[in-house]
């Protein structure tokens, strides 16, 4: 064994343990919303959201609401009988996220976490 710490040491580390615990509880809390193929077609939005959020949690929340809202909006419009083809309405969320990315998503200096990509030593 070299510098890499064992699993128990990693778990003893406060930050990591907190993340694991939070992740587990978060998953449990939302388990009832699980559905077969629930991520279908949403991968693009996840990538767009990462670019949009630029490592800032508030931007991530705003972006998630925006993109999720766009998906919901087109279905609401159909239910209200807006006289536009469902094929066009189905494009709305994608057009919106592309537009938002084109305007706000340019790669300026972003606040990448300082220790991202560094090997975890377990000494903090």
């Amino acid at each position: 064994m070299d510098k890499l710490t064992g699993l128990t040491d990693i778990l003893r580390h406060k930050r990591t343990a907190a993340i694991i615990r939070f992740g587990g509880l978060f998953g449990l809390a939302l388990a009832h919303t699980w559905a077969e193929w629930m991520t279908a077609g949403r991968g693009f939005f996840a990538v767009a959201l990462v670019i949009f959020a630029k490592w800032h949690p508030l931007r991530a929340i705003a972006g998630a609401l925006l993109f999720g809202g766009a998906i919901s909006l087109q279905l609401q419009m159909q239910a209200r009988g807006v006289p536009v083809s469902s094929f066009i309405l189905d494009m709305l969320p994608y057009i919106l996220s592309l537009t938002v990315l084109a305007i706000w998503g340019r790669a300026r200096r972003s606040a990448v976490p300082g220790s991202l990509g560094r090997v975890f030593q377990g000494t903090e």
Partner: protein, 366 residues
């Protein structure tokens, strides 16, 4: 330490070899009994209470009817190269009858069928045939009309909402038929349609269902692979629901269930398997109707009034006797254009060309 690891590995290797040798020997021994292996591939989960479960239930019934049949079943197979790979794998395991149970499996199945001419294929709802590939489905508008009567008699707000995969002609015909059935007993009836753009997307279906309920509809219907999301959403908010594909979706809405249009493939699959076993199978395009044993109206829920059930049964008799047409003129579409003249009827054989929604339906047919 190292030596122990080696010994364990060696023992594992020997064990694996033994399993392979024994495993290869077993099917050879069983082959003497002339079993028919049937392979079926599904696009989604066989517990979807919808499209896939109907097919899966079909092979289960076939297995029960015919003890000499063995089923290989694979779920969640994407349409395309993956489907070809899984079908070929089944054939290598000895399958002589393949059921590629999704519309999009048609081209992959045709490819595999060409490669293995001695294996038979039956494909649901396709439009192409091959010497060893047949197709089967049923005409559904009459059944939708009948369930529409029940919905029109049960609703309190006179409004229904339909969550539909895509605006394609066969689905438009089904929604039209449902709406006309409801209007025949309830002239104020109104139907709203929301198209998903896909056959399975629970989050989108949930949003669509609540958007429709917000518009005051108290009946929700589905033409997607799984009715679970929409039927549950209706039940949760005290609304009624109409199923499609599988008989057993009722359990998700014990209070609000009206009925459903269901496929019961069991006896048909039994016939297919028997025909393959005694060599009488031939490629054909089977298109059933209300008299077929594979198209069924699901049991009615407690909310449906007794006189509605009586009317549904009478209407069925009229359809079967040829005394009634679903698309009887005069019919206008929902943009005010005349589509079927008075005294004429749009033929059920022509619904592949239906690209309009009838008056009173709120939705875009294109």
């Amino acid at each position: 330490m190292k030596r122990t690891a080696h010994t364990i590995l060696k023992q594992l290797a020997i064990l694996t070899c033994l399993i392979f040798v024994l495993g290869a020997g077993l099917p050879a021994a069983a082959q003497g009994q002339e079993k028919l292996k049937v392979g079926i591939i599904h696009i989604g989960s066989i517990n979807d209470a919808g499209y896939n479960q109907a097919h899966s239930e079909g092979v289960r019934v076939m297995e029960k009817n015919l003890p000499n049949v063995e089923v290989i079943q694979v779920e969640n197979v994407p349409e395309g190269a993956d489907a070809e790979r899984v079908m070929e794998n089944m054939i290598k395991q000895g399958a002589k009858l393949i059921i590629p149970a999704s519309f999009g499996y048609l081209d992959p199945a045709l490819k595999v069928a060409r490669k293995y001419p001695d294996v038979k294929f039956v494909h649901p709802g396709g439009y192409k045939l091959a010497p060893n590939l047949g197709t089967y489905w049923a005409s559904t508008p009459e059944a939708f009309y009948m369930v529409g009567i029940a919905a029109g008699k049960t609703t309190k707000t006179n409004k229904a909402g339909y969550v539909v995969a895509l605006p394609i002609s066969f689905f438009l015909a089904n929604i039209n038929a449902f709406h006309l059935g409801a209007r025949s007993v309830n002239p104020k009836f109104e139907t709203r349609v929301v198209f998903m753009g896909t056959f399975l997307d629970a989050p989108k279906e949930a949003i669509a269902a609540s958007a429709l309920l917000d518009m005051g509809v108290d009946v929700l219907g589905v033409i997607v692979d799984s009715p679970i999301t929409v039927v549950q959403a209706a039940e949760k908010r005290g609304a009624y629901s109409v199923g499609y594909h599988y008989l057993g979706a009722q359990k998700f809405a014990p209070k609000g269930w009206i009925s459903g249009i269901a496929f019961t493939w069991g006896q048909l699959y039994t016939r297919f398997a028997k025909q393959v076993m005694d060599g009488t199978w031939k490629s054909e395009g089977l298109f059933g109707n209300l008299t077929s044993d594979f198209l069924t109206i699901a049991p009615f829920g407690p909310a449906v009034p007794a006189d509605a059930i009586k009317m549904v049964n009478e209407t069925k008799q009229e359809f079967v006797a040829g005394k009634k047409n679903v698309f009887q003129g005069p019919l206008k579409d929902n943009k005010g254009m005349e589509r079927v003249k008075a005294g004429e009827a749009f033929p059920l054989t022509g619904i592949g060309k239906m690209d309009w929604l009838v008056e009173g339906i709120i939705g875009q047919p294109k």
